[in-house]
């Protein structure tokens, strides 16, 4: 089944709120080889003006993932996980994510292009905090292989 071109018109519901945990930030920071004290030490983060430990720049992928799951769960999407390759990724931050943030994410499929037998799907996720302020936009380009 080819990727459904109508996905670009689809309105996806905002995700439920994701509470950013302090230990999750530390766990993620260790996993990306961070040694930055702001990722681990509440004291260091507060001394730098943050309420709590600061997440590494790519932590937003954890929240974006909730919306990519929505996309894959669409029965008529024509996107099989086993055929998906991550082509490109981009993050635009208004501010860093900090432990204690309650984030919600809203997905838009901004473009679907067919190239050879493959489809390039651009999934743009806008992440906002509990006050409704923009925190980050995460953009994934997924290459959906048309073979097999």
């Amino acid at each position: 089944m080819p990727v459904n071109p109508a996905l670009t018109d689809r309105a996806f519901p905002a995700t439920g709120s994701y509470l950013v945990g302090r230990e999750k930030v530390r766990e993620f920071a260790r996993a990306v080889f961070s040694t930055n004290p702001l990722n681990f030490s509440v004291e260091a983060a507060q001394a730098a003006g943050y309420a709590d430990v600061v997440a590494p720049p790519t932590f937003a992928i954890v929240v974006q993932e909730l919306t990519l799951s929505q996309l894959l769960a669409e029965e008529d999407a024509g996107i099989e996980l086993t055929h998906v390759v991550h082509g490109e990724q981009r993050f635009d931050h208004s501010r860093p994510i900090v432990a204690g943030d309650e984030l919600t994410a809203q997905l838009r499929v901004t473009s679907i292009k067919t190239l050879g037998g493959n489809a390039m799907v651009v999934a743009e996720t806008s992440i906002t905090d509990a006050a409704g302020e923009h925190v980050a936009t995460a953009v994934s380009t997924l290459v959906v292989r048309g073979d097999a």
Binding site: E27, A31, H93, P96
Partner: protein, 141 residues
Amino acid sequence: MSAEIVHRYEKGDEVARATYPITRESLVRYAGASGDFNAIHYRDDVAASVGLPGVLAHGMLTMGLAVQPVVDWVGDPARIGAYQVRFTRPVVVDPASGATIEVVAKIGALDEEAGTARIDLTVTVDGQTVLGKAQVSVTLP
């Protein structure tokens, strides 16, 4: 009297560099931390069944660690504006010897009046580039 701009940086300057030896344990750790449990990142049989040369590092692990030297250089994570990469070559992680990811960060473009720069990352494994167009927009420290 006009304010003199002090040119502390030039295009092409290397601002950070780091080497990350990664192992299968690193992949398991990243899977748990990120929630990406795609089996091609920890099972040789699954990787082979879909035609891969071996178990691969998560692209997001490579992207995640490659920006860390830049965060450390600018000091405050709020100075990182945008960050983008293309995943151009998979990183195969040998079960015994792992893989070594090398990161070099240089100034690709500079706007000293605005106090901003585009940092270009060169990310290689065994001398081969694994990320394309890897760019970080920063407010200069």
